[in-house]
Symmetry: C2
Subunit: 228 residues, 2 copies
Amino acid sequence: MKYSYPYPRPALAVDAVVFGFADEDVCGLFIERALEPFKGRWALPGGFVRPGETPEAAARRELGEEGGIQQEIYLEQLYTFGDPERHPGDWVVSVAYYALVRKDRFNVKPGSDAKDAQWFSLKKRPALAFDHGRIVDTALQRLRSKVHYQPIGFELLPEQFTYAELQQLYEAILGEALDKRNFRKKFDSLGILREVGVVPTGKRPATTYEFDRKKYQQMQRRGFHFEV
Amino acid sequence: MKYSYPYPRPALAVDAVVFGFADEDVCGLFIERALEPFKGRWALPGGFVRPGETPEAAARRELGEEGGIQQEIYLEQLYTFGDPERHPGDWVVSVAYYALVRKDRFNVKPGSDAKDAQWFSLKKRPALAFDHGRIVDTALQRLRSKVHYQPIGFELLPEQFTYAELQQLYEAILGEALDKRNFRKKFDSLGILREVGVVPTGKRPATTYEFDRKKYQQMQRRGFHFEV
DNA sequence: CCAATAGTGTCTCTAAGACAGTATGTT
DNA sequence: AACATACTGTCTTAGAGACACTATTGG
């Protein structure tokens, strides 16, 4: 190799915070480590980046291998954690990602490096291995701020949803109650939801909507920008 | 080392986009490479992360060594670039940062790995080595969006500044003309500027202001959030 | 007809944005 | 006196936020 750097190198890992939503609650997917260090502790799905691979590809691969998440999902780079003390006994730098998935679309299952894979409500998540707790906090912050100016909430909902569900999602992410009428007014005026049907709820049936991605992209090109 | 990962590892680098402001123009600090690869090409200041060092510390160290920037400066992690093809002949992953500095406070000077260090207007910057052009674009995007909701513009101005300068800065970053009266009204109403004096301009003297950091932090704690 | 959830309209107030002339200094 | 730059105020309009009742269905 020409120009190669001869000094010690870190191992490069990726870790992903996978967010889901169900029962009016935001949750995260964690795996139980089958290997040292932190064997038996809950941790983020992740692993090492292989030669020739981009970190994002590594993150997607690991989500498939470790969490049973193979489909196309929303995945975004979050932050790179490089404290030399973050991994006991080795120098491991981790590029962290966060993912938004529709929980119902996935059968989470542990892969070879994991004893178990489970969703946890983020309100009562277990203590995590390494600095993964901090990574989750960072991801939550990012989600909370991003949800205001990008229509990423829909990545967490089923294709079709009611206004009640959409509002519960926003309330769960933002951690505050919102006014039903103002919330509806807001999204109605954005014009990015398409009515697609009606669904029984036990009492009065509710109208269901879809996020109109194409229309949103058109509007975006015309200078529109989403804000909630 | 316990648990160490035996497979090939990337070299870990940091690169920094250093922004400055002068003459109604945003500029960036680039260095001319003294070594292969891309010897003689302009590039971002940066270098390899050493064992025991955090990436941020490495970035600060390199800015001192390569660009003559030793003082405390605003520095924020931007994005990690990990395309395996980004560096010819080796696997080098780079954690990119961006910095905001008061141009007048620094005597930029090239370090040992650089033939030269120079400020360039970002409108007419040279073609850069590696993927550094993309890194600059990413940093500019980040700066442009962040300037709306965080008072980081002040990091680019001298301690004391006039409304004309402040407005020129925002116009340069955002790339659009702003209305003088509305601009003033906005910042006046925020209440984060402190009048500190008067400066001759050749014609009618202008009032100078300082960013009142303490007041801003107080207000922030009370739930205030900056927005322009 | 009762219970439960879905859905709706108005008012107030703040702030964004468009817009043009006066004030104060220098030469 | 002329010129250049600093500085100022009003109107219109859009939207955020507070607020409470009606509609529709199942049991």
